[in-house]
Amino acid sequence: MSALAVERLTKSFGKHVVLRGVDLEVAEHEVVALIGASGSGKSTLLRCINLLEAIDEGRIFLADREITGARDVNAVRRRIGIVFQSFNLFPHMNVMRNVTLAPRDVLGLSKAEAETRAVELLDRFGLADKRLEYPDRLSGGQQQRVAIVRALAMRPELMLLDEVTSALDPELVAEVLQVIGELAQGGMTMVLATHEMSFARDIANRVCFLDEGRILEVGTPDEIFTNPKEPRTQQFLERIIKARRL
């Protein structure tokens, strides 16, 4: 059984075609890294999977059931967690409220149940003492960890992570990557767009190189990073390596 399958997905904004027939299959407990230049369509792909964007053509399956054209999009979204580059915590709610909002309002958990669940997750990710803080009092790394916890509190079967460390100061990146590493070890199925190549290499079972709205190359991290077949993949990786050295 596959956790997620995307078939011939096409998406454009007006005349601008962003995804040109993307195929992607993700097995249960698999971690797939999406790499590619900025503007190649990584975020759009993730947003389409979460039904945040209407797609033009193609089909998306979650646990072998089609979700494209689903009548109840909310029922689909509660099974998929997404974490954004810019955290997007609710600034008028404290950490506890941020995390318990959806479990209470969407899943119908009682306050006590939702808080038990939240406390457990916050403790696990080193945020126990931040329960009553408001987001603007947290560091970027803490905010992003809260955002991850907020998504996890829904007990999603699939997590989508969109460059979750790109907006962070370099010294805060590690704490967030560590959380994601733990999730992977716990068997969470994940699709993550990232610019952290060494991290992708460590954590991903498979790496997809996205180029101008197409998945140009798929392989194990070793295949992609040491032995890329496509010239454009090679170019992209060389550019990244150069940028890192400078």
């Binding site: 945040l52 954004f84 600034p91 008028h92 959806a102 603007d136």
Partner: protein, 259 residues
């Protein structure tokens, strides 16, 4: 600070000297600033002013609710809701365009004259209805600006957690939007407090109407001063409170750094 106080004092002394040396001053003083007359009219005008306060309070609550409904209607997406959106837009344009006093006159004199048994005849009722209709048009624009100022990523975050559109609006968008627009809302309510005097034109005995009655009886205009003092006593604290909120908001934004 000292310079500011000093220059302000000098300014007022100059103005005061200019006014009190004007040729018509003794006459104006007798007509508008008669202490005996002030003491005599103030209690009565103050009692009438309670009606202004009552109209203000009732209208304010209704406006806050009705304007929010209008603003939400205007923010509904998609072609299905086009008629509702269009209706809300026409409404706002119309009631921001007609002078307040005209709406009050048309409804206040017109509605009771219809002679329908099932609608109230009280001019106070129709005065309040008019104020609610007019001010809701303005206040809904204020709310809407607040809703529009919330970044779409907040909606995306809420929807991605499985919250419905209504839940997103109620839990995430509106609480943030309303907080942002409290200062401009209070500004509108300063205007509303003053405009309660217009209900007096329908014959309701509020502060302005009462002072008019007093003036007509004594041919002395000091009663107007009583009314003015009462209005100012309410609107100035409201204005300072608004300024304070704006300032606090600005400080917070600077301290917080990000949005």
């Amino acid at each position: 600070m000292a310079i500011a106080l000093g220059s302000t004092a000098v300014f007022f002394v100059v103005v005061a000297v200019a006014i009190t040396h004007a040729p018509g001053w003794p006459e104006v003083r007798r007509q508008f600033f008669d202490w005996g007359e002030f003491k005599a009219t103030f209690p009565e005008v103050a009692r009438a002013f309670l009606l202004n306060v009552k109209i203000f309070c009732i209208a304010e609550v209704l406006i806050l609710v009705f304007a929010l409904v209008l603003a939400v209607l205007r923010s509904l997406p998609g072609p299905v809701f086009f008629p509702l959106r269009a209706l809300a837009i026409v409404y706002a344009d119309l009631f921001r365009g007609i002078p307040t006093i005209l709406v009050i006159a048309m409804l206040g004199f017109g509605a009771p004259a219809l002679g329908l048994s099932y609608i109230p005849k009280s001019v106070i009722f129709w005065g309040i209805v008019s104020l609610v209709l007019i001010y809701s048009a303005y206040v809904s624009e204020v709310y809407r600006a607040g809703i529009d100022s919330i970044h779409p990523s907040q909606e995306a975050a809420a929807r991605s957690l499985g919250l419905s559109r209504g839940q997103t609006l109620r839990r995430v968008i509106l609480p943030q939007a309303v907080r942002r627009v409290i200062p401009p809302l209070l500004n509108d309510f300063i205007g509303l407090q003053k405009d309660t005097a217009l209900v007096g034109t329908l014959g309701a005995i509020e502060a302005f109407q009462q002072s008019q009655i007093d003036t007509n009886a004594t041919f002395n205009f000091t009663a107007y001063l009583s009314a003015a003092v009462l209005f100012v006593a309410i609107t100035i604290p409201l204005a300072r409170f608004t300024d304070w909120l704006v300032l606090r908001d600005r400080r917070r934004r600077v301290a917080g750094g990000t949005t």
